[in-house]
């Protein structure tokens, strides 16, 4: 699918899920260090990247996000031993699923950012914003609306053709 034409003012919206121990703290450090990065990101704090349910990623995209960023501790450094590995596995699954659904897997990104890596937060956010900007708007809510509209139209068309009651479906009678 080709991205809809984009205006230069268009700004992608990115929802981020950061684990509180590493990446959220790193984002705090970026703030304390007054590093500057793109304002398109909205961070949701979780205890562990292992808490990121695939449905959160889909919900974010379905509600109008153009990209989803997940930040956790480096492998081997998880505060909860291995929650980040669980996320890593799910992430591979989510990417494939998105691909099947026609959503570019590049719209989702998983990064390991430790509490000391404020610079990396800045770098990753800026890079991701740029990447998603190039992909263009995802517009899932609008597409859902269009599909709903299409379905409603079909339903209406079908409703006009009265189906005789109690008549078995020809396919079934075979």
């Amino acid at each position: 699918m080709s991205p809809p034409p984009q205006s230069p003012e268009w700004r992608p919206r990115i929802v981020a899920f950061f684990c509180t121990w590493c990446t959220y703290t790193a984002a705090d450090l970026a703030g304390v260090s007054r590093l500057k990065y793109a304002a398109n990101i909205r961070v949701i704090r979780l205890m562990c990247s292992g808490r990121v349910d695939p449905q959160f990623i889909f919900a974010a995209l379905a509600n109008g996000a153009d990209g989803v960023l997940i930040g956790g501790c480096h492998p081997g450094d998880c505060h909860y031993v291995e929650g980040n590995y669980k996320m890593l596995r799910r992430f591979e699954m989510v990417k494939r699923l998105l691909h099947e659904m026609g959503v570019e897997p590049k719209r989702v990104r998983l990064e390991w950012i430790s509490a000391a890596e404020g610079e990396k937060v800045k770098h990753v956010v800026n890079e991701m914003v740029e990447q998603v900007r190039q992909l263009g708007p995802l517009t899932l809510p609008q597409r859902f609306e269009a599909w709903d509209h299409e379905l409603a139209g079909l339903e209406a068309a079908v409703a006009d053709e009265p189906v005789p009651a109690n008549e078995p479906c020809p396919a079934l009678s075979l």
Binding site: V15, L46, R51, K86, R90
Partner: protein, 669 residues
């Protein structure tokens, strides 16, 4: 505007903090407050200069009463900073503290963005999300768990020693684990300390022997922590006790075994003297070693060398030990498990390997020394008995001390090691005292910012030590004049005089910097700590929590956290001990109620959640065909919640509904 209306009973109070100019400069706070006022469920919306101040907190309490608020949202700094403050204010106002949610518009917004309009829009989105989320919050209770009052200190340098004694004096049981055969660390190797020129051993060894004899201290030297389980207040630690082939309980420290070893002369490289001295296969690291127990090096002991327990060696040491029977060639490495409530990590530093700066010729020219080697050369109990002589026995006529070796350099370590200027000054003074040599200091900047440090520098200037400002380019033995023949020549740009000089000396001292220990990464993983980019352990907050780590109950002190001198190390060790005391003396810890629980009616018994729990907190009830979570074992990561296919696990404070409404909130327009 988000769609859907909130239940009538919902009365949210929204507060946005200006934080002086910190937030207000980049976010239009009154506009955000005005915007929030119209969101569903919001009964009251205010902007205020400092929400964390007493009047700010009282404002929340008063409003809860006056406007019958039942949910509170504060948009200010990071929840890691002030969540507790506002939860307490919410509770003081008469609400359950978990009916509160915090929005981070300082670290995550005002401080990181440059466009006021964008930053204000972001603040609105985050506020909207929190308001949507807080509607789903439930009343929760803080869990209380008893705390084990014993403390483990890891690393027996001056930091570990001081922390151990502080706790032991307060009546706490302390385990001190040190990997070397004796405690004392780097400080035990120093001759004098700057700027007072106190003898290092004189001030350290009384503390060492106190550790060795204190009834509250269990000292395990030659031991290493290999595993840490549990959580704040209840850690289970596995310690490996290496075999020293001498029974610690039976050895009296008489050292007859050393005198009677079949090797009449010491001939093996001596670790304590940085390889400059020699020791026997059975040895004690240094005269004041604590514990006063010898040990046997199986790599060189004849009895081990030719296959275990042969009769090749006469075992004169065993004979000399006699009735005490302390020597035990069959001793094996063993592991011990201990339970403690808090852990203080004081694993120290290592010195920079001077071979990494090949132009200074360390390892190539025998008379290029590291500063630590010179500490041993000067010391009366060192390999030369305190005499400053070169490797061939000649006394040096000129000595050059090169500062910043491996520090302040993009090619090696970028940081300033903080102690090198001062110890170089000290060594310059001592080398002048112990020899007739002319002493040169080659420095980039002279950093003497401690108490009486600048005065010490002035004193050295008046003592006739030469100071040349410039980073030495190379140390070479290539002579250009008869005077340089057979000597080491330092090529340096004298940046004050403005020309390049060649200075011939007989001895070069490299002021090597401080680095994280080689195995700092493994130690970090063991204790679940973080590291800064340079590899030193990361404190929870650089200013306000300098000895805490991100893991509750694990504290830091000394040079494992960053280069520092002895006074700072001792101060930090005292602080870490006080923090540990504050934790364990309370008797219990309060746990964040973010554990998970299973909705019985919805659990299908698929067991997906069981293998994902790293704490084995989930078990399967065969009779009911349902999973159950043991709340005391659950640490609240939420991994099982995300893996449940039927959505029948709930994590308190991070319920699906709460997070989904937050997602909805940040994206609504």
């Amino acid at each position: 505007m988000p769609t859907g209306s909130a239940p009538d009973s919902l009365r949210i109070g929204f507060y946005i903090c200006h934080c002086g100019h910190n937030i207000a400069a980049m976010v239009d706070c009154p506009e955000v407050a005005k915007y929030a006022e119209r969101l569903p469920g919001v009964a009251l919306s205010r902007d205020y200069k400092y929400m964390c101040s007493d009047p700010g907190q009282e404002l929340i309490q008063k409003d809860i009463q006056e406007f019958k608020l039942n949910r509170i949202v504060v948009a200010s700094c990071s929840p890691l900073l002030h969540e507790r403050t506002f939860r307490a204010a919410t509770e003081a106002g008469g609400l359950n503290p978990f009916f509160f949610h915090m929005v981070n518009i300082r670290e995550h917004d005002a401080w990181v963005h440059t466009d006021r309009k964008e930053a204000t829009e972001k603040a609105k989105a985050l506020a909207r999300a929190a308001i949507a989320r807080v509607a789903h919050h439930r009343a929760l209770e803080v869990k209380r768990v008893p705390i084990n009052p014993e403390v483990l200190v890891v690393g027996g340098g001056i930091a570990g020693i001081h922390a151990t004694l502080t706790l032991a004096h307060a009546g706490k049981k302390v385990f001190l684990v040190e990997r070397e055969p004796s405690i004392g660390g780097h400080m035990a190797k120093f001759d004098k300390t700057f700027p007072t020129l106190d003898c290092a051993a004189c001030i350290l060894t009384p503390k060492m022997s106190e550790v060795g004899t204190h009834p509250n201290v269990t000292l395990w030297s030659y031991s290493e922590v290999i595993k840490v389980d549990g959580y704040v207040g209840n850690y289970t630690v596995t310690v490996k006790r290496k075999a020293r082939y001498v029974n610690e309980d039976l050895c009296t420290g008489c050292q007859e075994c050393i005198a009677n070893c079949v090797y009449k002369e010491p001939k093996f490289s001596d670790e304590f003297n940085e390889g400059l001295g020699r020791r026997k296969p059975v040895y004690i690291p240094f005269p004041q070693a604590t514990p006063q127990v010898t040990l046997i090096d199986p790599n060189v002991c004849l009895n081990f060398k030719r296959g275990a327990l042969t009769d090749k060696c006469k075992k004169t040491c065993v004979e000399a030990c006699g009735e005490k029977k302390a020597i035990d060639f069959t001793q094996r490495e063993e592991t011990r498990e201990i339970k403690v409530g808090a852990i203080i990590v004081t694993t120290g530093f290592q010195t920079f390997d001077a071979r990494r700066v090949p132009q200074y010729g360390y390892g190539l020219f025998p008379n290029v020394y590291t500063a630590l080697e010179v500490e041993r050369l000067i010391n009366a109990s060192g390999p030369t008995g305190g005499e400053v002589i070169l490797r061939d026995g000649r006394p040096p006529k000129a000595i050059g001390i090169i500062h910043c070796v491996g520090s302040r350099d993009v090619r090696t370590n970028r940081w300033c090691s903080r102690v090198c200027c001062m110890y170089s000054l000290k060594l310059a003074h001592l080398l002048k005292e112990h020899s007739e040599a002319e002493v040169y200091n080659f420095y980039i900047d002279m950093r003497a910012p401690g108490k009486s440090y600048e005065e010490f520098y002035s004193k050295l200037l008046s003592e006739g030590v030469q100071f040349i400002r410039g980073r030495v380019g190379e140390v070479t033995d290539w002579a250009m004049t008869p005077e340089e023949e057979g000597r080491l020549v330092l090529r340096v740009e004298d940046t004050l005089a403005g020309f390049v000089r060649r200075i011939p000396v007989d001895m070069v001292v490299l002021a090597t910097g401080l680095e994280p220990q080689a195995d700092a990464q493994e130690i970090r993983r063991l204790f679940n700590m973080s590291c800064g980019s340079e590899g030193f352990f990361l404190e929870r907050h650089p200013k306000l929590a300098p000895v805490n780590t991100f893991t509750d109950g694990i504290f830091l002190a000394g040079a494992c956290q960053g280069p520092r001198d002895i006074p700072d190390t001792v101060a930090q060790a005292g602080a870490a001990a006080a923090e540990a005391l504050a934790l364990i003396d309370k008797g219990h810890i309060e746990q964040e109620p973010n554990t998970a629980c299973i909705l019985d009616a919805e659990c299908s018994g698929c067991k997906s959640c069981i293998p994902v729990c790293p704490y084995t907190a989930i078990t399967f009830d065969e009779a009911r065909q349902k999973a159950t979570i043991n709340e005391t074992l659950c640490k609240g990561c939420g991994t099982c919640v995300a893996s449940c296919p039927s959505g029948s696990i709930v994590q308190h404070l991070f319920e699906d509904e709460e997070i989904l409404s937050e997602i909805d909130g940040v994206l609504a327009r």
